[in-house]
């Protein structure tokens, strides 16, 4: 017993170690033996789905943000056939069990109450929280699915791509701000958010403000000029519909000379390296068009 506690205490770099054809994963609920090469995976969190697709391990089931929309389109054709097992907030244990998975990945902060039921179905590991830095969550998921090497491969690929774009467009010293219009107020995304960190990754700086230890801050439309930056990105469901630009931004068009509408389905919810690469593709296209 004392040994286990001691082992947990060490902040080892590699939480997973191969034992035969299983791997021991250290996670939010302790240690669990999972298949070294899982074939029937169920994921309950968007970043886990994105990471599985990035590793070419197509899950048999996934919980989605929106059952009507289903699996996000940016993940491509292979992902389109994945069975949905309820929403991220409320996964359906019966649907999960029916898929006879050999590995389930969930999130402690969201699915805590389901842990006992899920472990009856298959080995289940829990990521701590979806609000942790997204690259840490990619690392956890990739390590669970394919070992530490897989995580490095994905994250290095993403960072290299960032460096290429930064060099090509000379973004250093320029600022960028992502705005999500919501219920009349404007949500500004900070450097620790998924899209915000991607903007910083390509060399942009997010304008300084008090981020209140959060990934984003809501501001009143009266304060719209606080969102000024060299490049301003506004999320929307339809990038061709200029009327989706919030009135407070379009009324101050002169203050926002470089304004770009971007698709919220991957800029906001595409958390992961596949989503990240999709955002980078979009950024490259936008920067090429505006320079």
């Amino acid at each position: 017993m004392a040994l286990v506690v001691a082992a947990c205490g060490s902040a080892d770099s590699d939480p997973a170690s191969s034992v035969g054809d299983t791997r021991t994963v250290e996670h939010a609920r302790g240690k669990t033996d999972v298949p070294a090469a899982p074939t029937r995976v169920v994921v309950l969190e968007p970043v886990q789905l994105d990471t599985a697709i990035a590793l070419e391990i197509t899950p048999v089931g996934a919980a989605v943000l929106n059952e009507a929309t289903g699996v996000p389109k940016y993940l491509g054709d292979k992902a389109a056939g994945i069975t949905t097992v309820g929403t991220v907030q409320e996964p359906n244990v019966q649907k999960i069990a029916a898929l006879k998975p050999d590995l389930i990945i969930g999130t402690e902060s969201r699915h805590s109450a389901l842990y006992a039921q899920l472990t009856d179905v298959a080995p289940t590991v829990y990521m701590a929280s979806q609000t942790d830095p997204w690259q840490d969550n990619v690392r956890f998921t990739a390590t669970t699915l394919g070992g530490a090497g897989s995580a490095d491969k994905l994250l290095t690929g993403y960072q290299q791509r960032c460096a290429e774009i930064a060099k090509k467009f000379g973004t250093a010293g320029k600022t960028a701000q992502l705005i999500r219009p919501r219920d009349g107020v404007l949500t500004l995304y900070g450097p620790t958010s998924f899209a915000g960190s991607t903007l910083e990754c390509v060399g942009f700086t997010t304008p300084q403000r008090d981020w209140e230890n959060s990934i984003s801050v809501d501001i009143s439309p009266e304060r719209v000029l606080e969102a000024k930056a060299d490049h301003v990105f506004v999320t929307t469901v339809d990038v061709n519909d200029r009327s989706t630009i919030p009135a407070s931004v379009s009324a101050n068009a002169a203050a926002f000379p470089r304004l770009h509408l971007v698709d919220q389905s991957f800029w906001i919810t595409g958390v992961g390296t596949v989503g990240g690469q999709t955002v980078l593709d979009d950024l490259e296209r936008i920067l090429a068009a505006s320079s």
């Binding site: 059952e67 107020v185 009143s220 989706t244």
Partner: protein, 349 residues
């Protein structure tokens, strides 16, 4: 003037003169407070623009930020708040007088639920996104549902009591609220957008949203004031009112038409704003007594004051963001209602 309705309480003449003086003072006070609220609504907000800059912007000068904050944000929403508050105050007073029930409020006729259901369906199935489009959908929903409720509830049928109409309205409202919940739960994107509308907000309610509704609310206010004298007679009961030569059908149609236009117009501009229609008439009766003409005018003023002050509070409550006015009115309205309910005389109809 045999139809003077303060006859209900039949106070002695000297008391009546005193009452009239109090009422006049109360109404003058309400006008003053309303003017103060208008000034606050222009000078106070989430962006701490100095008052001198606001004043400069009002005269066409000032910084770019102040110009935008005053002309682009505060003036349009002040107009919207005034309109919505006046409409809800009068609609509430009309409902309480018409049903002779102190707990009646405009939402009981299903008008708000109809507006919400149309907005939800519009967002979920027709991809509607702009506040102006929500406004038209809400207005259409409110009017169609009101007509349906009146047809089923027997609005023009003299034998039918207001209770039958209310039950029909409440039942229809419940069905439509279920529909709205069903649509939003199965369409999380719709849920996300409805959240803002459902809270009741004056954000981004520019002239494109307010101006089309303005004539409807004005018509509703006129119809309501026209019904005031008959409502005074109605307070004695339908039989006595009829004996005094009051046309019950005309009164009923005027009141229902007014409530529909006012509550529908207010929902169309701001979404459902709770408690204003319920609280304001109580507050006003406490100040001006039982005459419906004074109650309606008082509710018009006090409704505007309540919504404007709640909106100003919402702008500075959660800086740098804002809290929707509907949430503030619920916070402020509930305690006021309880306080008033504890003074028995104050809330008596």
């Amino acid at each position: 003037m045999t139809t003077t309705a303060s006859a209900r309480a039949a106070p002695p003449t000297t008391g009546r003169a005193a009452r009239r003086r109090t009422t006049r003072r109360w109404l003058a006070g309400a006008v003053a407070v309303l003017l103060g609220s208008l000034v606050l609504s222009v000078f106070v907000g989430a962006n701490p623009v100095p008052p001198s800059d606001v004043w400069a912007a009002l005269r066409g000068a000032g910084t770019e930020t102040a110009q935008y904050v005053v002309w682009g944000q505060r003036l349009p929403r002040t107009l919207a708040g005034l309109l919505v508050g006046a409409a809800l105050g009068v609609a509430g007073a009309l409902m309480q007088a018409f049903t002779r029930n102190a707990l009646a409020e405009p939402g009981l006729l299903g008008v708000n639920a109809g507006a919400a259901a149309f907005v939800a369906v519009g967002i979920a199935f027709f991809g509607v996104t702009s506040p102006a489009a929500y406004m038209w959908l809400a207005l259409l929903g409110a009017l169609l549902v009101a007509i349906a409720v009146y047809a089923v509830g027997g609005a023009a049928d003299l034998r039918a009591t207001p209770t039958r109409l209310l039950v029909t309205g409440v039942a229809t409202g419940a069905v439509l609220a279920g529909l709205t919940t069903g649509v939003t739960l199965t369409h999380p994107d719709t849920f996300d957008r409805m959240r803002g509308w459902n809270a009741g907000s004056l954000l981004e309610r520019d002239t494109a949203v307010v101006l089309p509704v303005l004539p409807l609310i004005a018509a509703g206010l006129v119809a309501g004031l026209l019904a005031a004298r008959s409502l005074n007679a109605l307070a004695l009961g339908p039989d006595l009112a009829a004996a005094q030569g009051v046309s019950l059908v005309r009164t009923r149609l005027l009141v229902l038409g007014a409530v529909t236009l006012l509550a529908g117009g207010a929902s169309a501009v701001a979404g459902p704003i709770s408690f204003v229609g319920l609280v304001v008439p109580h507050l006003v009766r406490w100040g001006v007594g039982a005459d419906q003409r004074r109650i309606l005018v008082g509710s018009l003023l006090a409704g505007g004051v309540l919504v404007l002050l709640a909106d100003v509070l919402g702008r500075i409550a959660v800086l740098p963001s804002e809290m929707p006015v509907g949430i503030v009115t619920a916070f402020v309205g509930a305690p006021v209602l309880i306080a008033l309910a504890r003074r028995r005389r104050a809330t008596a109809l």
